[in-house]
Amino acid sequence: MDLLEPLQSGIERRALAEVVMLGAFCGAFGCWVTTFRLSYPAESLAHGLLPGLVLAALAGLPLLLGGVAGVAVAALAVWVAGRDGRVGSDTATAVAVTGLLGLGSLLALTPAAPARLEELLFGDPLGVTDGDLAAAAALALVGGAALVALHRPLAAVALDATGARALGVRPGLVRLALLGLLAAALAVAVQGLGSLLVLAVLIGPAVAVRGLFSTPARAMVAAAAVGALAGVAGIYASSWLGTAAGASVALALCGAAALGALLRWLAGRSRAAPSPSA
């Protein structure tokens, strides 16, 4: 198990760079995603952008374009679905996502189409292009700047939405900004992790560090570190064990979350030891 071996391959060096940047930004951003209970919308958008990816792949266009277009269409579909009060927004969202997932897989599985569906579903960090790296870097930098700029409004709304309004913060706009960042993060991260697994990088690190830090800022820094480290661990595991790279990174991220949950549970049990007083 040579630590330096993966670093010698250009492909794997790029994969490592990709997962470090994505893991860091999405890990930190994921703290807001979980705080604002956006897991279900995030998952719906992630699954729903599949047709965009497939069409881009079929047309020979950069997947990033497909990701952006796909997430825009998915967001529109989910928004329209949510407004229908007759079946309930949960059900309508499920219909939209099922339809989009079906459309994407249908397009990708026609015999004439190039057989790349598994990479689009489960990620392909080893197939990262220079364009993908640039996009990941841009996401980390611009997204990171946005997170810094929005930090106080986000924290205010998360703590107390009505109180925040009194302070001049507009919860609606804040939420909109969050969703915009989410869409961008998904469009970029889906190259590395795939439509079905990308959620891991958004919520895994946040879950891993949940409850351990007193301020959101510290939690976000920790989550960024966890995201980057888990990403690296996944690439190394995939290199040593010969497993699929995208899935290995996703499993590493989920493993970090599970580890965090386990540590919290153990800490809770030792603290909850019964006391003899009434």
């Binding site: 009060g85 007759r86 309930g88 939405a161 009505t162």
Partner: protein, 262 residues
């Protein structure tokens, strides 16, 4: 205890030293002790979270007693819970809802019988909604919905009815109509327990029960609703309109805190 027709009547609802909790922890409600005769009505007063709904859920048997006992005579009580928004989009008609009362006969896996359907139509007629039988429940007004739920209780032929804030959001005209129904149900020998935020309306009831995590008072509304009782029930959230001398009954209103979820 003497009943309206003279002679003794059995208690329809009895609670002795009752304490109720959710999941065996600290009691949400304790020291409840009262008796309600058949053919009489009880107004349950208290702030939000004070235990009114908890009491009702203990009376239906959904929550077990932590301490003490509670007994309801005459079969299952009918429970008209607080209005929840999800019920409005369920594809059920007024008749369907009234018919649900027949589930209480214990054989819920069998389809409704002809006699049940007739009873449901008769009940809707009784509450004045015979012509709305096939309308969707969600398309009715608040007052009409309450009357449909009362029809359900009639189909069930419940001897005890538990109504959780039945007049909340109902316009005054419908409210009066519903209160007339209460009187009819009472005169038929049923026992009614109605929780409300409207302190003044308690005077129309035979008995009043004040709850705020524990029983504050029980008795005749004309004498039990003293300033002290009301203050202990509602904390500081009452406005006194008129007082009958120190220690006497007061006329008061509660200050509502509406919690809006956005």
């Amino acid at each position: 205890m003497p009943g309206a027709l003279g002679g003794l009547v059995t208690a329809a609802v009895t609670a002795e030293g009752l304490a109720v909790s959710y999941g065996g922890g600290r009691p949400a409600l304790e020291e409840v002790e009262f008796e309600l005769a058949a053919g009489s009505s009880l107004c349950v007063l208290g702030p939000n979270g004070g235990g009114k709904t908890t009491l009702f859920r203990a009376l239906t048997g959904e929550l077990p007693a932590l301490r003490g006992t509670v007994a309801v005579a005459g079969g299952r009580p009918a429970y008209l819970a607080q209005t929840e928004r999800t019920r409005l989009d369920f594809p059920v008609s007024a008749l369907d809802v009234a018919l649900m009362g027949s589930l209480a006969n214990g054989r819920w896996w069998l389809p409704a019988r002809r006699s049940d359907r007739d009873a449901a139509r008769a009940a809707l007629d009784r509450v004045g909604l015979a012509d709305r039988a096939s309308d969707r429940f969600g398309e009715l007004s608040g007052g009409q919905r309450q009357r449909v739920l009362i029809a359900r209780a009639l189909v069930q032929d419940a001897r005890v009815l538990l109504l959780d804030e039945p007049l909340a959001g109902v316009d005054p005209a419908s409210g009066e109509r519903i209160e007339r129904l209460f009187g009819e149900l009472r005169d038929e020998g049923r026992a009614l327990l109605v929780s409300t935020h409207d302190v003044e309306s308690a005077r129309a009831f035979d008995r009043v029960l004040c709850l705020n995590g524990a029983q504050i008072a029980f008795g005749d509304p004309a004498t039990a609703l003293t300033r002290d009782v009301l203050e202990r029930t509602y904390g500081g959230e009452i406005v006194v309109l008129e007082e009958d001398g120190p220690g006497g009954a007061v006329r008061a209103v509660t200050v509502q805190h509406h919690h809006h979820d956005h």
